[in-house]
Every structure is written in structure tokens, then in C-alpha cells.
Symmetry: C2
Subunit: 491 residues, 2 copies
């Protein structure tokens, strides 16, 4: 797919990075002098974080091109993402410049965070192809996109838009009808006005407000929305009981909600000063890196149970396939998240097993041990593992695992994983004995014939390769070696 | 410490569970017939989640006692946590019943989510000892407590309250002055009113609103507050630039903030129906278990970089110590989080190494390889690991690791960890060779003398114990074994 990015601030650049890292070619148009610098910075952040969400490799990165003219960017584009400033006259002139060069099937998506699509469509010669696709910063990590159309928008366009967005790992929230400000920003803005009032009244600082979010309900919001959270407060009696219990207090005038604070210089100065104190000299880039590392760790934490964004990544991951090369199967290829780094400066030993475990799963899955096979009551358990750590690995490194099947007959399968780091350097070996089991009895048992056959074929296909020297070795007994040395020097 | 819990709904029970799991004895008074059932359920949730946040064992669980009279519960209590309904007359009669039995040093803390402490103090005979400690549900997992006093509250009481709360792993946010609704609920309630309007206007469903939170800004809120998030939107130019760019749109009447929706039957019915559809038959208990598992996974994800709640757990963990027993050092004792469970129904192999890695750190730290020692440029790297998985382990199981030092001379240390699961059954062994390195050159190097001495002492102390049979073994070569069997049967 060719994607045109019109307007390359933080949002436009985030879109560009997400499309590129999902294998699409991107052409950018933004006349601002620092657009290219912004793009490079956002792309660097995205490259070191988005792939780290996945236990499978994303497709090869698409090409990036800066167009000198807007027509170059949009000609032949399948998707145009407009992220220009939120002023109707700027949108109008942008659309006027784009539309004559768009193909009939091209989608014109606006990143607007507040303008109704019907208002934007009034600016277009072919209004039916315009749709709002409103993302959240950082676009390359947060899955949410609000997809909003007007009465003029064909339902098929909404569906096609949602499909393309899912294809780049996003969660399209398709609104039933258009409203000002859509959903996410309405909620956030309500909170924000209240926060501004607290600063204005001098009852809390920016740091206190941020802490009230971060240590409390903010954590809840990462895994459950407000209605489900409040449903739990109502207990087994459900939402009606919640209102009976907590409804009346809503009427109390706790806050300034009926009003909007005047953003005068005094208030802006107060906020800016408190915010400077709060960020304590950390640069924006540094804060962004920390944020991205945390978001990757949070989304990864939600993957096992497929909660929220973790479910989005799992669904996307299921569509990703390992490209095979060479004589041994590639069972993993992935980028090291920065959250895997420990105080020593390299990745913690734990994650070698995490990778090896996924690699073994990929191999057995390719032999028929699928989610359905497991659900039907059979699987592999690991009995024994031997890791040799050879070269340090660091955040952002891409690791490729190639797996040799040393034995694959009947109940037992003996795997030898080689981890290759940057420059195809052998970084670790992980030897594993896995046993095929019956999940009901938890006892070791023969696999079903198609699985047994597939594993046996791999054993046979790999049998002509040299047996790895490290296979079957043990950790050395240094006390014994020392005692022997002592004896031989005496002798 | 003796803790009295007055009122044992979801909040009171959450407090009781957090205090108990941090080693304090708890006496509960609540005349409601289902208070005891609520307590048992919340305690079961808390037991299977709170300890799973930590890589160290929490202290032995405190005793739980249901008092038949309020006076029994509060007599001798160091801390009284009042969580009765939010009506002044209920609070008044509760305080009147409690105060005559309180010692001079006792703290009377109220869980009120909205009433100013000065109003509550008017109901007390000794107002100076009342303080607001407002937690967030689930109290046993979320670290935030808003600590609020009035002009009558001695600063020393605020500090003592904060200290006790930190001691049970919470994050006390001490407000400078009292305000209605404090900070967290003001922000949440602003969002909530906006959400109610969207339902009333029929522009979004409860599920859509929850998704807008969960997949978008909710994820951000778990790792960064709103001011810092918006600071990043302003870019390097900071908060002033953010207001120049985004300030004007605040004045636009995007929402109904100036008004409060009427909670009539029609609106409540609509919300309750949508909420029922959204939770699709999942019971409250089931949703709570999912929530808790996600919260544990999220908070654990924030631990490595000490972000938000992850930092709170790390700080608390640093105060926890491993109780020693028997002839080998206990290097880990911990509860298995449910997020470690995989489709097979047991914990994933990865986490055996996570535990072993922490156990090795605990052992070397006890020998002088402290955070300061590492910061000064020396540490241990793992060279080789051999795991044998013997018995399946499950969520909620407590694991104790005992570590034998097989060799501890100079640069090389050979460790043998035994994992004991429920009933002290040997569940796994992890053999490790670790190397002492210079972090600047990344080369293997002798430890400083105090570390070398401590490791050598352990080697000598453990030398008289039998060498584990499994040490020094390798994964068996089944092809060779098969070939030999074939040969011997021919021979």
C-alpha cells in the first residue's frame, strides 16, 4: 500500500512510523522546516518500541520519502492521512490541493481531534471518501483510532477503513454517529478542565494531580473502562445498585464543572512553572523514551490474558508469519524491548527462556500443536533446559532463533535453539527436552499421528547437519577440576 | 500493630486484607449480615494477588477477628479505619461509639471519598486525631491513598499516617489543604459526568466509552499523569507552547460540562442494560479476578524502571527480608501471579529463570554485591544455566528457593537452586554458573575481597553437604541412546 502523510508533526509522524513499520511505503509532505527532524525522531522512538510489543517479526520496513510537492505525495496513494492544523481554512486548501490527484479507491482520512466529518466533507469535491481516523499519541504504540463518518459516509468505507487500521495493529472504534470531540477527548477534556480548576484554585499542584492519576485510577484505566469499574463497585447487584448507592452524591456541587477557567497569563505561568519543577530537567525526548518503554511493558503485560491493548497485539500477531531462510527453521525473530534491560546494561537472563519458549511453541505449532490441538487436550511440557549465554544482548537488538531438532520421535523432542544477535553473531544456545503430554491426566503420551509425523520429519531433515558441540554438555564441576589439578601437581 | 476496621464493605475489607497481608492483626466490626462473606471473598482475591506483586515474601499474615461489639474491635487499636456509609449521622454515631475506647496515640482514619476532614472532626471529642485516608478500589492492590487533614490536624499526625501507609506498601498523597472530593475523585467524576451525558444523548454506548479509555488514554494514565502527557504534546517548547497550540479549543463548548444529567429511570435503565450486555454474563467475582490479574501484571511491568506504582512496590520490597531457616540460605520465597500461567494450566518455564535470577541476586547481594557495588562498576553475569522441571506449579502457589554454593572461589561461582513448591515438594532445580565481571571492560575479573571472602565462606559452609545428584548432568542424547540400544540388541 502507498500511504501519503500530509502534515508531519507528532501525530503525522506517528502515523508514518506505524505504517512503515507495518510494511507500507510512506510519502510525506510537510513544508515546515523541522518536519524531517520530527519524523526522524519519532521513527527512532517507534523502531525501538513498536516491534518490541510483538513476539513475531513485523514485515520488512516500508520506504520513507519526503515529497517536495503535495501532488507527488498523494499521487497513487491508497491512503492519505491528513494531520494539518485544526483550522477549517487550512483543511480546505489542503483538500483542494490533494483531491484532483486521488484515485477513486483512495481513502482520505483526517486526524482531526474535534471537527465533525460532515464539516470536513463540506470542504471536499468528493465528500464520500473522507473519513475521520482520530488516533492517540504516541500513534505508533496506542491502538485506539476513533473512526467517524457522517450520513454521507458509505458503511462500506467505514468497514474498509477499520480493516486497514486493524492491519497495522490498531483498534478502530467505529462511532455510530458523528459528535463533536468524539469520545476519548471528551472524557479527557472533562478531566483536564477539572485539573485546571484545581491549579487555578491553588488546591493541588500539577505533580499532585499527576500522582492522583498514576498511582490510583490511572492504573485501573489501563485494563478496564469506567463503566465496568463502577459495575464492580456496585457488586453482584450490578449497575442499578451502583446508582442507588452512589448516584445521589453526583448531584453535589463538588467541582467547577459548570464553568471553564480563564487561561490567563497567571494561570499558564503557574502551570508551566509547576510542570517544569515536576519534570526536573528531563528533556522531552528522555520523557518520551521512558513513556514508550512503559507503554511497551504495560501492553506486553496485558498480552497473556488478551486484555485491552494486549488483545489487539495478540490478534495482530496471529497474522504475522516467520520468514524462513537457510536449512534450519527460523522459530523466532524479534526486537529486544528496553524493559528487558537490567542494571547490568544487558537483557536479563529470564528473557532468553521467554524467547526459547516462544520459539519452541512456534516450532511445535508448525507441526500441528495449534491452539485447537491444545484446547482438545494435548500439549508439550518442557522437562529440561540448558542455556549458554555467549554474547551480551541489548535493547533494540534484533534476535533470530534457528532451531535444530536433534530428536523428534514419539513422546520426546530434543530441540537445540541458536540465538543470533546483530551481525548474525551467535549470542546464546538453548537446548531443550520437551515432552508430549495428555493435559487431562498430565501424563506423558504419544502425540497424534500428524504431529508425530511432522516432528519425525524435522528430525530426519536435520539429521544430516552436524550435531552441535554444545549439545549434551553439562555445567563443569570446578571443585572436582581443582581437586584433580591439585592431585596431578602432587603426582 | 492492631488495626480496627469499622465497616466492612468492599473498601473496609480491602483495607483489612492489605493490613493483614502486611503482618498486622485486624479486628473487624460490621453488623451487616454479609460483612463476613464480603471479607472472605476480598481476602481470597487479595491473597492471590498482592503477594504476587513482590519478588520478596511479605511478613507472616496477621490474624483476622470479627468483633461482636464495636468496643472490642477498637480497644487497644493503634489504627482505626472507618469505612461506614457517607452520611454524617452514621459517622457521628460511629465516632461516639469508638472514641471513649481509643488510646491517646491511636489514629482514627476515615475512608470518606468526599467529606472534608474538618466536617468529620466536628463530630469528634478529640478532633486532632481524625484524619482522612481515602483509598482506591481494590485497596489491596492500588497504592494511592489521599491523606487529608484540616487546620486542626497536627503536621506530625499527617507524617505519622503517611509513614504507616508506606509501611503497608501504599503511596500516601498528602494534600496541602482540605477540599471537597479531594483530587482523584474530582478528576474521575468529571470524566464520569461526561460519560453519562454521552449515554443520555445516545451518542455512545457504555462499551464504546470503556473502549475509548482502555485502548487509548487509559494506557497512558497508568504510567504518566495528564500534565506530563500534555507537556509531551507541547514538544521541547514545553507547557507554554502546549497552551498556545491547544488552549483556544478548550473554550469551545464540546460538551455538557456546564450541566449535570438527571439520573432518571430511563437513563439508569439504559446504562444498566448496556452494561449487562457489555459484561456478557461474566460474574462480578470473575471480573474482579481478571481485573486483579491485570493490575498485578501492569504494576509488575512498571517495576523494572520504578515508574509509578512499580516504584512504590520496589521501595516497599527493599524493606522486606528473607527469613532464614535450615542449613541452606533461603534466596527466594514468593507467590505465583496468575499472569504467569499459560494455556497449559501451569506457570510458563520462563518464570523459573526469573525466580532463579532473583534468587542468585539475593545470594550475591548478601555477599556484598549491592546496588552500590554494581553502580561502582562490578557485577555478576550468568554464563550457563540448567533447569530441570520436576513438578507443575500453579498460580497462588508459594515457592521457596534454597541455594547451595557448589563453588565460590574467585571469578566463578557455581550455584544450585532447589525450588520447593506446596508441601515442600521439590518442584525444580536450577543450576547456574555465574561470572564476576568488570562492568566497564565487560571482562571477567576477581571480585573485591569482601565479596570473594563471603562467597568462599558459603562454598566452605556448604561443602560438607551432599553434592546434588542432578548437578553436572546434561540433557540426554536420545538418538545416541537409541543407536546404542539398536547395536546392543544386534550384538
Amino acid at each position: 500500500m502507498k500511504v501519503a502523510i500530509i502534515g508531519c508533526g507528532v501525530i503525522g509522524a506517528g502515523w508514518a512510523a506505524r505504517f512503515m513499520l507495518n510494511g507500507h511505503d510512506v510519502s510525506i509532505f510537510d513544508p515546515a522546516p523541522d518536519a524531517e527532524r520530527c519524523m526522524r525522531e519519532v521513527l527512532a522512538h517507534a523502531r525501538s518500541s513498536l516491534p518490541a510489543l510483538y513476539d513475531r517479526p513485523l514485515p520488512p520496513v516500508g520506504r520513507l520519502d519526503f515529497a517536495r510537492r503535495i501532488t507527488e505525495a498523494v499521487t497513487g496513494a491508497d491512503w492519505v492521512q491528513e494531520s494539518v492544523p485544526e483550522r477549517l481554512e487550512v483543511k480546505r486548501s489542503t483538500y483542494a490541493a490533494i483531491e484532483p490527484y486521488l484515485g477513486n479507491e483512495a481513502i482520505l482520512a483526517s486526524s482531526t481531534s474535534a471537527i465533525r466529518p460532515s464539516k470536513l466533507q463540506e470542504l471536499c469535491s468528493q465528500p464520500a471518501r473522507l473519513i475521520v481516523a482520530h488516533p492517540f499519541n504516541p500513534v505508533y504504540l496506542l491502538p485506539l483510532v476513533e473512526v467517524v463518518g457522517s450520513d454521507l459516509t458509505p458503511p462500506a468505507l467505514k468497514a474498509r477503513t477499520a480493516g486497514i487500521l486493524q492491519g497495522i495493529g490498531m483498534y478502530p472504534l467505529v462511532l455510530d454517529r458523528e459528535i463533536d470531540g468524539f469520545i476519548g477527548n471528551r472524557l479527557q477534556e472533562a478531566m483536564w478542565r477539572e485539573a485546571l480548576w484545581m491549579i487555578k484554585d491553588g488546591v493541588a499542584t500539577t505533580a499532585q494531580i499527576d500522582e492522583a492519576i498514576l498511582y490510583g485510577f490511572g492504573l485501573r484505566c489501563a485494563q478496564m473502562g469506567q463503566f465496568e469499574t463502577y459495575r464492580l463497585s456496585g457488586g453482584e447487584a450490578g449497575m442499578r445498585h451502583f446508582f442507588a448507592q452512589f448516584g445521589p452524591s453526583l448531584a453535589e456541587p463538588l467541582s467547577h464543572l459548570m464553568d471553564v477557567p480563564d487561561l490567563d497569563t497567571a494561570l499558564i505561568d503557574r502551570i508551566a512553572d509547576q510542570s517544569d519543577a515536576q519534570s526536573a530537567g528531563r528533556s522531552i525526548r528522555e520523557m518520551e523514551r521512558t513513556r514508550d518503554a512503559s507503554l511497551v511493558a504495560l501492553i506486553r503485560a496485558l498480552k497473556p490474558r488478551r486484555v485491552g491493548a494486549g488483545g489487539t497485539v495478540r490478534a495482530h500477531e496471529a497474522q504475522l508469519h516467520l520468514q524462513q531462510d537457510g536449512s534450519l527453521p527460523v522459530t523466532a525473530r524479534r526486537v529486544i524491548p528496553s524493559s528487558w534491560t537490567e542494571a547490568n546494561g544487558h537483557i536479563n537472563e529470564t528473557h532468553y527462556i521467554e524467547i526459547a519458549s516462544n520459539a519452541a511453541d512456534a516450532l511445535t505449532e508448525s507441526c500441528g500443536v495449534t491452539a485447537e490441538y491444545i484446547a482438545a487436550g494435548r500439549s508439550h511440557f518442557t522437562a529440561e533446559t540448558h542455556v549458554r549465554y555467549l554474547v551480551e544482548l541489548h535493547e533494540g537488538d534484533e534476535i533470530t532463533v534457528r532451531t535444530q531438532v536433534l530428536y523428534g520421535t514419539g513422546k520426546k523432542t530434543h530441540l537445540f535453539h541458536r540465538f543470533y544477535g546483530p551481525d548474525e553473531k551467535l549470542a546464546a544456545t538453548v537446548e531443550m527436552m520437551i515432552l508430549h503430554v495428555d493435559l487431562t491426566t498430565r501424563a506423558v503420551r504419544e502425540p497424534l499421528p500428524h504431529v508425530a509425523g511432522a516432528l519425525k520429519s524435522l528430525e530426519e531433515a536435520h539429521a544430516h547437519l552436524p550435531r552441535p558441540e554444545e549439545a549434551g554438555t553439562a555445567i563443569r564441576d570446578l571443585r572436582k577440576a581443582k581437586a584433580e589439578r591439585a592431585r596431578s601437581s602432587q603426582g
